[in-house]
């Protein structure tokens, strides 16, 4: 009922191309995270969906209706701004109530919805305060509450939790997810925090340089990145990449023979946790330079040739800096990319 279709949206600011023909379909009630580095066009895309920014070409459909030329208030959506845009001359209560007041809802309905949104975001103690007297994180929660209070069919959020401390962010993330799922709100959530995107989204759209380079469920984006950029951007630690040479569709690494699509130069990608440690002679030799115990696991950093490699080892590992370990890869979980384009190669190809 309120699915979103972004149809070949492009945008340039003068000579700067912010978006190049972005297309994206979001189902009704789906939660999509726009993930990408700073300046890749996330905010621009969100603002075009909201009708705050003009587009150079393309269409935006919401609920099957072409809203490309409609005013923001005619599109039936709510938005959380990257810099909050909480009205400084209104109390927190008035801010949260703003959208409902504009819809001329009766006072008791407004009161109920405001209290509900405030409770969810833990801002009840500040309802009578002015935003100038709030911290950045509190203001940000006011902005989120203001958007939730109108119970929109479509919710656009631009890094709504970026200013919260780690614990509060974790808590808010879970609450947002459950509330939005329950309400069936179609959500587009901009973030450059990949854990947030992984945890929240039904699908992640990874953006880079004004394009969507991959759109897929979190686990697939993580395990099967479409490009070397995605592999390096998503996941902590990032995916490891090794240049290899495929001969007759196979590559031999540390005594292991792994099938490769096609022959010639390839980039092999593997996740730090998809290896098993073995004796140096039984695998790909890695000289460990740094050992970082993280509690749940231990991070080993070293080099294979020129490539930096990070390995997630069990926290019980006895490896020390300077040790040489052997790595055995899981052939089912490695990916191959074309060194020239950085694009993933299908196993079938």
């Amino acid at each position: 009922m309120a699915g979103i279709v972004i149809d070949r949206i492009a945008k340039s600011f003068g000579s700067v191309t912010a978006l190049q023909e972005v297309s994206l379909e979001i189902a009704d009630g789906e939660f999509v995270a726009l993930l990408g580095p700073s300046g890749c066009g996330k905010t621009t895309l969100l603002r075009i969906m909201a009708g705050l920014e003009s587009r150079s070409s393309g269409r935006v459909l919401i609920g099957g209706r072409d809203v490309s030329d409609l005013k923001p208030w005619e599109r039936g959506l709510a938005m959380v701004f990257q810099n909050y845009a909480v009205f400084p001359h209104m109390t927190v209560y008035e801010n949260v109530a703003f959208g409902l007041a504009m819809q001329k809802k009766p006072a008791d309905v407004i009161d109920r919805q405001v209290k509900k949104a405030a409770a969810l975001l833990h801002i009840e103690p500040y309802l009578e305060r002015y935003p100038a007297k709030l911290s950045g994180g509190q203001r940000q929660r006011v902005a989120v509450a203001r958007a939730l209070a109108v119970e929109p069919a479509v919710l656009l959020m631009d890094e709504p939790l970026s200013n919260l401390d780690a614990l509060l962010r974790l808590e808010m993330r879970a609450e947002l997810k459950s509330v939005l799922r329950e309400a069936g709100t179609t959500t587009v959530y901009v973030t450059h925090d990949q854990t947030e995107a992984m945890g929240l989204a039904d699908r992640i759209a990874v953006m880079y340089g004004g394009k969507i380079v991959q759109i897929a469920p979190p686990t697939q984006v993580y395990a099967r990145p479409a490009t070397t950029f995605v592999g390096g951007f998503v996941g902590s630690p990032p995916m490891n990449f090794l240049p290899v040479d495929s001969q007759d569709g196979r590559v031999t690494l540390g005594g292991q023979s792994i099938p490769v699509p096609g022959s010639g130069a390839r980039i092999l990608g593997f996740r730090g946790e998809d290896v098993t440690l073995a004796a140096p002679a039984d695998g790909l030799a890695l000289t460990v330079r740094v050992v970082e115990p993280m509690g749940s696991h231990t991070l080993l950093t070293g080099r294979i040739g020129d490539a930096v490699v990070r390995i997630v080892a069990p926290s019980s590992t006895a490896v020390r800096a300077g040790d040489v370990v052997g790595l055995r890869l899981d052939p089912a979980r490695v990916v191959f990319m074309d060194p020239a384009s950085g694009l993933a190669l299908d196993a079938a190809a």
Binding site: L52, W73, F81, A85, F87, M102, Q103, Y130, A132, V150
Partner: protein, 282 residues
Amino acid sequence: MTQSRWLPYALLAPAMVFLGVLFFVPLVQTIVLSFQGDAGFGLGNYGKMVGDLNFGLSIRNTFLLVLTVIPLQVALALAMGLMLQKMTFGRDVVLWVWTIPLGVSDLAAGLVWLALLQNTGYVNSALFAMGLIPGPTAWLNSETPVTLFVAVVLAEVWRATAIVLVILVGGLQLIPKEFAEAAEIFGARPWTRFVKITLPLLKPSLQSALILRTVLAFEVFAVVYALGGRNFPVLVGEAYAWQRDNQNYGVAAAYAVLIMIISLAATVFWLRVLRVKPEVQG
């Protein structure tokens, strides 16, 4: 440590001396003068001022002018300022052209409008040439108070709207565009956005502009004098007349004190009406 305490005062001292000599001393002298008369120290000058035929008229005219000109100027400046905000191209040129009258002195402005509006002026000639009026028509004498008033209002609006505009444009630029955008997302139409977002956030600039303009408007003189002489008595004009024509410095000083009190009252009025609560400043 000790140095930093007196340094600001030392730096302010020249300005304070300057203000004291050239502003405070004459002010006290004027106040003293207003109470000095032939019959010694007392309210004689004030009695004479109030008893004068033109006193009530000049009060009425001055207030009428202020109450007409100020709202017109603020409304116009707001409209012009918002228009400028919407422009992406040629904005600076338009602002520059609109502020040209700022460079024209008020007497010169009065004379320009006199050249336009007097019996033999350009407007008369043009209307006559088009056959709209039978002959040269007088608009600026004591028999035509309404057209004279309108002429003064026109000249004042033309001359002094730009200063309001400049202050408001500065204020509008300080308001991040996200506030209006957020309001737009949440359903506020243009007029609601103007009333609920732009105006409240513009309050500090509005206050400055209104104080400045109101105080100056109560001192309106040169334009009135150029267009109508004493046909349209205003407070400063009366002070001037008592000083020059009647050589009565005491009554002139009483007028000056009265104008000062009115200006102070107007300032206090705007400070209170458009007060920005400290907790709202963000």
